[in-house]
């Protein structure tokens, strides 16, 4: 799952990014409103974390622009403002959730998981199919109760397919959601990740539709 993090405070940005990456998310960072607006409009993020107090352009106006441009990506707002009016303004502008500073990182991570889960229409954080149990909260997988060691890129591919289970995902779409903005996107490596996942989790989980992409059946 690829997330845009728009936050101008570099240290905080770094801390948030670390937590999200540890859970297998791909994180792009924007440090001002203009950059955030551009990335949010042009890149297919699965979620956006938006600080309202961004320099150059404030968060609310960026959010409004996304929504009026048809960007439906779920947005979690971060704000240092106490006022309730600010929070409601944020939701009215199209945000899905908000978190006020100072917050605890585990709380932020939980909100991100909940938001992603809601957007995929799933209420259960655990994905089960055959012998596989995948915990979307931590990106951990077990097969018949035995923990399976997955690399962060494998987690990224698996979570994206599971979040969109029942839907055919093209290689391009998959690569857009598992690589960072300036990452080296080679759609051939996708096939490598899929192969490794099949080896680790069993051959039947991920189906290949030749020439079109991959799919995991809905549970």
């Amino acid at each position: 799952m690829r997330i845009l993090l728009a936050e101008d405070e570099l240290v905080l940005c770094d801390q948030i990014k670390k937590v999200l990456v540890a859970e297998g998310r791909i994180v792009d960072v924007a440090n001002d409103g203009q950059e955030a607006c551009f990335l949010g409009t042009t890149e297919p993020y699965d979620m956006i974390i938006l600080d309202l107090g961004l320099p150059v352009r404030d968060g609310i106006s960026v959010l409004r622009e996304w929504r009026s441009a048809g960007v439906a990506t779920p947005v979690l707002i971060l704000t240092a403002r106490d006022g309730w009016s600010d929070r409601v303004d944020g939701l009215d502008a199209g945000a899905d959730d908000y978190l006020t500073k100072p917050f605890h990182l585990p709380e932020l991570a939980a909100r991100v998981r909940a938001t992603l889960r809601r957007s995929s229409g799933r209420s259960n954080p655990l994905f089960q199919q055959g012998g596989l149990v995948f915990d979307t909260r931590h990106g951990r997988a077990t097969v018949n109760g035995v923990p399976v060691d997955l690399t962060s890129q494998e987690v990224a591919v698996l979570s994206y397919l599971i979040h969109n289970s029942g839907r055919l995902i093209s290689r391009t779409e998959l690569s857009e959601h598992i690589y960072e903005y300036d990452g080296d996107r080679d759609s051939n490596t996708i096939a490598v990740f899929i192969n490794r996942l099949r080896k680790k989790l069993g051959p039947d989980l991920i189906q290949t539709v030749r020439g079109r992409g991959y799919m995991i059946d809905a549970p």
Partner: protein, 451 residues
């Protein structure tokens, strides 16, 4: 201090009374003198008649009564008399005297003399008397008299009609004072109403709609209002900047400490200290916020709109926690409160209710006699009556088992206080938990009428 209207009434009344008194005095004196002159001239003419008659009848004064033919001279005590005294002291008089004599009518100077006299028989009269020396060298005293009764009646009538006329003039004067006062005060009255109700029209007053004497005042009021708005928004911005400037580093510190704690280093003391910093920061920011209400700006806010905004926010939050929010709000409710202050109150009350309720919370807003009543209820544990006063004090947390600053009710209560509104804690009859009842100022003009 006397009101402008009272001043105008008093000065108008006094000037009307003074001009009435002076007018009556001058006019009465003038008319009275004219009347007295006419009276004296008529008396003198009658005296001349008697003298002329005497010159014809000097040989037989008894014929005088025939020569002076005036019915009043014949009617007893008619009020018109004559009397002639011969050189040898013999007296001849009009029939009207009926044997009486004019007081002092038998002696006189050589020049005509007019005087008032009183006699038991003929009462008050004015006498004209003169000693006349005829061609034969004999001196006769000729006196005529006229009763003053008629003159006095005339004077009284004059006084009465003058009084009536001037009372009418004074009444008109007073009425015009009232009218003028009303006309002059009206723009001030309107200004006052406009200032109090400007939230109905929004923003600045138009100086062009007022007379030139009041227009500068309107300009000053506009400046003051703009300044008030600016102060409020600037302080809010400063508070927001301060919050941002302090909370981000605090968040960073907390995260670093948490990472260290995960590496099993004891960060308990540091995290405690940071908790204290955050709590103090939250309290100070809340205090800044409540000290800085938009009360002076007196804006009008669409309560129904704000309620629906919060219905969306808290409906969503309640939904995620498996709780139910019910909202009942009449459409088109407006309150005389700054929008941010209103939303701060609503947000804190709903936040508190959501935090403490088991499964249900509700918000109702409806028009009441004293304003607009907003009630937020929940089905949580409620607050015992003995703890309620404590719950509204800043920074008091009755139960630390739930996260939060414990400032919600206190902030709402403090904000409402600035508007003269009160927050009441009760038992919720419907849901069984706490009910927070608030009566918000709706519309209307504060303060007494001018004048």
């Amino acid at each position: 201090m006397l009101s402008l209207r009272q001043r105008a009434w008093i000065s108008g009344g006094v000037s009307a009374l003074v001009s009435m008194a002076v007018g009556i005095l001058l006019l009465y004196t003038f008319l009275n003198e004219r009347e007295s002159d006419r009276f004296d001239r008529a008396l003198t003419e009658r005296h001349t008649q008697v003298v002329v008659a005497l010159s014809y009848a000097v040989d037989d004064p008894a014929r005088l009564a025939e020569l002076l033919f005036d019915p009043q001279y014949q009617t007893p005590f008619s009020g018109r008399y004559w009397q002639v005294t011969s050189p040898d002291g013999q007296s001849f008089a009009s029939g009207s005297l009926l044997g009486a004599s004019l007081p002092g009518g038998d002696t006189a100077q050589a020049v005509l003399e007019l005087r008032d006299a009183t006699d038991p028989d003929i009462e008050e009269v004015r006498i004209a008397a003169q000693r006349i020396t005829l061609e034969d060298g004999n001196a006769w005293v000729v006196a005529v008299a006229e009763s003053l009764a008629q003159l006095k009646t005339d004077r009284r009538n004059l006084r009465q009609s003058l009084g009536a006329a001037f009372a009418l003039v004074a009444a008109i004067g007073l009425a015009s004072v009232l009218f003028q006062t009303a006309a002059i005060i009206r723009p001030l009255d309107r200004l006052r109403r406009d200032v109090a109700q400007r939230w109905d029209h929004d923003e600045a007053l138009s100086a062009a709609e007022y007379p030139e004497e009041v227009a500068p005042l309107v300009g000053d009021i506009n400046t003051l209002l703009a300044r008030n708005r600016e102060i409020v928004s600037r302080s809010r911005r400063q508070a927001a900047d301060l919050a941002h400037a302090l909370k981000t580093p605090s968040a960073i510190l907390r995260n670093e400490l948490s990472v260290l704690a995960e590496r099993s280093q004891d960060m308990g003391k540091a995290l405690d200290a940071l908790d204290r910093v955050d709590a103090q920061l939250a309290r100070s920011l809340a205090r800044l916020r409540t000290a800085n209400t938009g009360e002076t700006v007196q804006a009008k806010t669409d309560l129904s709109h704000s309620v629906h905004r919060f219905q969306r926010l808290f409906g969503m939050m309640a939904d995620r926690e498996g709780k139910t929010l019910t909202v009942a709000c009449e459409p088109g409710l407006a309150v005389r409160m700054d929008a941010q202050d209103l939303e701060e109150v609503l947000g804190n009350l709903l936040d508190n209710a959501l935090k403490w309720c088991r499964t249900r919370l509700s918000l109702t807003a409806q028009k009441r006699k004293g304003g607009i009543e907003v009630v937020v209820e929940d089905d949580g544990p409620g607050i015992p009556e003995s703890d309620r006063a404590e719950a509204m004090r800043s920074g008091t947390r009755l139960d630390t088992s739930k996260p939060g600053t414990g400032l919600g009710l206190a902030i709402a209560s403090d904000l409402l206080q600035a508007y003269g509104a009160v927050l009441v804690l009760e038992d919720s009859p419907g849901l069984g938990g706490l009910a927070v009842r608030v009566t918000l100022p709706s519309q209307g003009v504060r303060g007494p009428r001018m004048g």
